[in-house]
């Protein structure tokens, strides 16, 4: 069978930002779905978002409430969300209370009532909230086969009437096995929430979705005044086209450093600037951004240890104007510091900013601050998520400069406490050295994946112009990388003549 001969399954928008991408483009039309999870995890809100996104006067939504949250209170609370459009009630969204039928009658009566309403309204969307109550009632009075028959008939009828259906239930994962409800369902969506230290961590999983490929795994989500917002593990970048590799080099804004880098940073590279406190990592980052702006390349700074005003003000002390480009929409300084962010949520904020101004340069200042801004439960995912974001962004040509603070060791040259050199193309290492009774600063290019670079250890200073390299490579010292070099006579460094 040719692809063109196959039935096309329409995908409906979920109304939840980020969720369509996780679903593989949206929710299959006419599917029979279950939203499961513990109380308070957002099941009803998710269903409401879907309903408000899809209900129309021609294809209204029927929302059956069953014994759980009283309908009036549900409306009282749900209308606080920004997606709640009162204009859709009662014309496009109709709430029907089934509590009395459940309490006083059997499953057949429930089915009859649902069918009656469905045939009367011809809805595009049907929700039963909570279906768990229906199943509990059934469990007390009927056999499992009766329940299976009920679910089967319900699914059949709603599909025949061309309704996309959600059954909402407070299930535990242990109940999945042998449960007829889960067997019949086309889609099974599980919402989790857990307290990890002092933070609430919410996650979403598609356990089953017939007919299309969804993004597997657990995805974080947040509930705000706007309802649920989901953050795909792939950060929505799976369908982004990779940019062709260019040979272009980006200036760091410091000509001497550009020379050390063999002409600058290759476009689309991920650069790590490592060094201890006060060595000038942030100064270099701002010079990198300012140079980009000077060359017409928009930039993003994701800062975690300073507020945007302070960050711009400090750049100002180096003669770099980061205020005007912000006003002109060429620079966005993101301050991301709430302590319960998920990794993907933070990444999404960065990605949105990058895409909004078509940024070519991104600064993450610093990785340690980034990690600390996350809820404790997400810190274990940090490296993996960072890898995904960096890979995706550099893949579309964004050049990333990340800073990382290191505890200085005076015996060895460490590059990062994060073991993240695998996700950096280039590493620039700053460090203090003791020379002639002074604590001075040196830099060295440790790694450049894209080609040759200077092997020199160069001294630099932080002046009113930012980082300034002084002099040629430091000669006459041994052990500079340890921070406590010893002086050697230049003559002893000469190679012995070949015999």
């Amino acid at each position: 069978m040719n692809r063109k001969d196959k039935v096309t399954i329409n995908k409906l928008p979920t109304g939840v930002p980020g969720l369509d991408e996780i679903m593989g483009g949206g929710l299959p039309e006419y599917s029979f779905n279950i939203i499961a999870g513990s109380p308070g995890c957002g099941k009803t809100t998710l269903a409401h978002q879907f309903v408000f996104a899809n209900a129309t006067p021609e294809k209204p939504a029927l929302y059956f409430t069953v014994l759980g949250e009283p309908a009036l209170k549900m409306l009282r609370y749900q209308q606080q969300y920004s997606f709640f459009d009162q204009d859709k009630l009662p014309g496009s969204i109709r709430f029907v209370n089934l509590s009395q039928v459940i309490l006083e009658q059997d499953l057949d009566a429930v089915l009859t009532e649902i069918i009656k309403q469905v045939e009367e309204v011809s809805p595009g969307v049907v929700v039963v909230d909570s279906f768990r109550t229906v199943v509990r009632k059934a469990a007390g009075a009927t056999t499992e086969m009766d329940l299976q028959g009920f679910v089967q008939r319900l699914a059949l009828h709603l599909a025949s009437w061309q309704a996309t259906t959600f059954l909402i239930g407070e299930y535990s994962e242990a109940e999945i096995r042998d449960n007829p409800v889960f067997t019949v369902a086309d889609g099974l969506f599980w919402l989790y929430q857990a307290v990890e230290r002092n933070s609430i961590v919410r996650k979403f999983q598609i356990m089953k979705l017939r007919g299309q490929a969804s993004v597997p795994g657990l995805h974080t989500f947040r509930i705000t005044d706007a309802g649920l917002q989901a953050f795909s593990r792939t950060l929505g970048l799976t369908r982004q086209r990779s940019k062709d590799v260019t040979s272009r080099r980006l200036s760091m804004g410091i000509p001497e450093l550009d020379k050390m880098l063999g002409g600058g940073i290759p476009e689309g590279d991920s650069v790590l600037v490592a060094g201890s406190s006060g060595t000038g990592k942030s100064a270099l980052a701002t010079q990198f951004l300012a140079e980009g702006i000077r060359q017409g390349e928009a930039g993003i700074a994701a800062v975690f240890e300073e507020r945007p005003k302070e960050y711009a003000a400090r750049a100002g002390t180096f003669g770099l104007d980061l205020v005007t480009p912000q006003n002109e929409g060429k620079l966005n300084i993101l301050y991301l510091r709430p302590l319960d962010l998920s990794v993907d949520e933070t990444m999404q904020a960065i990605l949105d900013a990058v895409q909004k101004i078509d940024a070519k340069r991104l600064v993450i200042d610093s990785l340690a601050g980034f990690e600390m801004a996350l809820a404790p439960g997400f810190r274990t995912d940090f490296r993996e998520s960072l890898y995904r974001m960096i890979s995706a962004l550099t893949g579309i040509g964004v050049t990333i400069l990340s800073t990382v603070e290191l505890e200085e060791s005076f015996t060895e040259l460490t590059f990062s406490t994060y073991s993240i050199s695998f996700l950096t193309d280039d590493i620039i290492r700053f460090r203090y050295v003791e020379i002639d009774g002074q604590l001075r600063k040196v830099m060295v290019i440790v790694k450049m994946r894209g080609g040759d670079h200077s092997k020199d250890i160069r001294e630099y200073e932080i002046t009113s112009e930012g980082i300034v390299l002084i002099g040629p490579r430091l000669r006459g010292y041994q052990g500079l990388v340890t921070g406590v070099p010893s002086q050697v006579s230049l003559s002893s460094q000469k190679k012995p003549p070949l015999s």
Partner: protein, 138 residues
């Protein structure tokens, strides 16, 4: 709210069919609301709302003392001659019922639901204070 309820009463009184003429206006209004709100909130939900509204109204209108709310959520008068279609008491009862809906689901949503019951009525044009328009938009 009282003025709003009075407008609703006046509209409902004028719109009565011959078969409804002997039914107190408050009963008719509550019954129409019951049909609509039972679908939304369930019989028990409407029953409890009307019970609360009646309790509040009785404090101000002792003539409502003979009224009861039956299990289905309908008003009953256990001594019809005493209630005697007390329009003021009935208005109070309806005013409290609508006030409760305003409290729980907000004015806009309540008026939308009422608009479904009385689509052609003109009493929506003023709010409880009689100053601000909040006609449901279609």
């Amino acid at each position: 709210m009282r003025e709003f309820a009075e407008r609703l009463f006046a509209y409902e009184a004028a719109a009565a069919t011959p078969s409804e003429a002997n039914v107190p206006v408050a009963f008719r209004v509550c019954e129409k609301l019951r049909h609509s709100l039972t679908t939304l909130a369930g019989a028990a939900g409407f029953h409890s709302l009307l019970l609360r509204a009646l309790a509040l109204a009785k404090r101000e209108a002792p003539s409502l003392g003979t009224l009861r709310v039956n299990a289905a959520g309908s008003l009953e008068d256990v001594a019809p001659n005493r209630y005697n279609q007390d329009a003021e008491g009935g208005t109070l009862l309806v005013a409290h019922l609508i006030e409760l809906l305003f409290t729980f689901i907000g004015k806009a949503l309540t008026l939308r639901l009422m608009h479904d019951i009385w689509p052609d009525a003109s009493f929506y044009s003023l709010n409880a204070e009689g100053t601000q328009k909040h006609e449901p938009q279609r």
